[in-house]
């Protein structure tokens, strides 16, 4: 792997996400096992691991799309409990981008972006529209603003999805394999947008197997297997000097092609 310059250390001493002793079960299936993770402000973390290892479940716990049974998750000082107020507060701070985009097909790209600011942030329609256009420009598709998702390519849809999440002005962005449903020629346009976003100082948790991207933007790499964090390190160490055998095996498989 290219030895990218070590990024400046970020967010030391000021964690924005703190996960301690997290355990989760689907029925009797123990999907997350004793996860401890602290994410600093403006830190970028890339999570990889084999299918079914619990990567999606982990990041979906952070905005409570999944409920955990044990341990604590504190996001920007707010603990995720059954308290709906807390859940709402966290969701306003955390944006998520899904593998399948999940755009609202009955709304145009612009309307997709406006819905959060209008209804959650209670912004006047004019301002919401201006904000939405601003972010569509940032993901480089302002000219598609009035098209419906069904009329856009996969890469364009995913960029709208990113813009939609950003319109809520989140402090933290979660990405769950944002490029794995895309054709190869569209992957780059989405990754470019994510690199831009990383440069603005956004705190990012990214589940991805795009290792070149990871090497470029990540402050920390995390390898998960069977519901556990097996290895966590700087990209440099992670790629050049993996500690665990499972990490080595996984990296050799994924870097083969």
């Amino acid at each position: 792997m290219s030895a990218a310059e070590t990024p400046p250390a970020r967010g030391k001493g000021e964690p924005i996400i703190e996960i301690t002793g997290l355990n989760k079960w689907f029925g009797s299936f123990h999907v997350l096992r004793d996860i401890n993770l602290s994410v600093g402000r403006q830190e970028r973390i890339v999570i990889c691991g084999p299918s079914g290892s619990g990567k999606s479940t982990l990041i979906r716990c952070i905005n409570r799309l999944e409920e955990h049974q044990e341990g604590t998750i504190i996001v920007d000082g707010v603990e995720l409990t059954h308290d709906l107020k807390n859940i709402d507060a966290v969701r306003r701070e955390v944006g998520i981008v899904f593998q399948q985009f999940n755009l609202f097909p009955h709304l145009t790209a612009l309307e997709n972006c406006m819905i959060g600011p209008t209804w959650v942030r209670k912004m006047p329609k004019k301002d919401a529209e201006q904000l939405a256009m601003e972010y569509l420009e940032r993901v480089k598709i302002p000219e598609q603003a009035h098209k419906y998702p069904g009329q856009l390519s996969g890469g364009q849809q995913q960029r709208v999805a990113i813009a939609r999440a950003l319109c809520m002005r989140p402090n933290i962005m979660l990405f769950d394999e944002p490029t794995s449903a895309l054709d190869p020629e569209m992957i780059k346009e989405v990754l470019d947008v994510m690199v831009d976003l990383a440069e603005t100082g956004m705190t990012m948790l990214v589940v991805s197997h795009e290792m070149a991207f990871a090497a470029q933007v990540a402050d920390q790499m995390i390898f998960m297997d069977a519901g556990q964090i097996i290895e966590q390190n700087t990209p440099d160490e992670f790629f050049n000097n993996p500690q665990s055998d499972r990490t080595k095996l996984f990296l050799s498989q994924i870097l083969e092609h």
């Binding site: 969701r91 999940n102 609202f104 069904g150």
Partner: protein, 369 residues
Amino acid sequence: MTAQPFHRAQADMLGERPPPPRTVGTIGWMRANLFSNWFNTGLTLVSLYLLWLIVPGVLDWAFFTADFAGEDRFACTSSGACWAWVDQRIKLFLYGFYPIDQIWRVNLALILLAPALAPLLFDKMPGARYLRWFSLAYPIIATFLLIGGLGLEKVPTSKFGGFMLNITIGLAGIVLSLPFGIMLALGRRSKLPIMRIFSVAFIEILRGVPLITLLFVAAILLPIFLPEGFSLDLVVRVIVVVTAFSSAYMAEVIRGGLQGIPQGQYEAAQAMGLKYWQMMGLIILPQALKISIPGIVNTFIGLFKDTTLVIVIGLFDILNIGNSMVSNPKWLGLSTEAYVFISLFFFLVCFSMSRYSALLEKRLDTTNG
């Protein structure tokens, strides 16, 4: 034969040009749609033959050999239909026993229906935003026009009859059963056990009994159960049971639509911080209702035709008025004419609803165009 080059490099990019015209004329259309292969050709020929057998006979009966004037059925001497009664009875068929000098109120209510429906049919129409308020107020305006009060002469609902009664019950049922159906469908999928149990019980009980029995309940049983001194108009009671009955069907149709919405839509809405009702109202229901349009309109059409069942509790809707005319010695035996005439009214209304739903589906299709 010239050899094809097996490699090439194009110097200039091709310029954009408009697509070729789509229509290829009547002959082309016929060739593509009616005679594309032997099976299709056979079907076309059989259909033409059947039309040739049926249509001339029907036209003959209905128009060319029909009688249009006369005092009673004995005035009809030709072999075709006898339409002589229409002139005398049309008011009865359309308005029942509504006072003749007040019929303008029924007509006005019907005319006002057009601007009330317009913003729902054509949402890009100028002024649609303001007309929508009128649409909301329409049920109140129409009710006021039909029953009167506030200076207008009062007309008891017992005078309602004919097609006007079918439309009143049908329209009220349609307008009410959609929101109730949505509520029941959401209730059935609710996380709250009480909501779920109530919704399931309501849906299953109402779907499980014939509408006729419900009408008897409305006519005979309901007044007994109502508290002392509290009476509810018969037509209102009928509207209540017709609405309840259709809501149960509507709920299942909409539940089907809700099941067609991927989990990811809920997740995206929740992740954004939308509250339950915002998520439902802005994201889930618009999509679910769109998928359910064929089923919803099907339920509407069924409801509208079922309004003729009020005959069993002695209301004089258009069908009952037809029946009583046919048993009148003056017009005895003209049942074919009467039922054809009545069917035409139902067909017109139901066919319009069906066309409207097709138009709506096309307009809401966001995948292309």
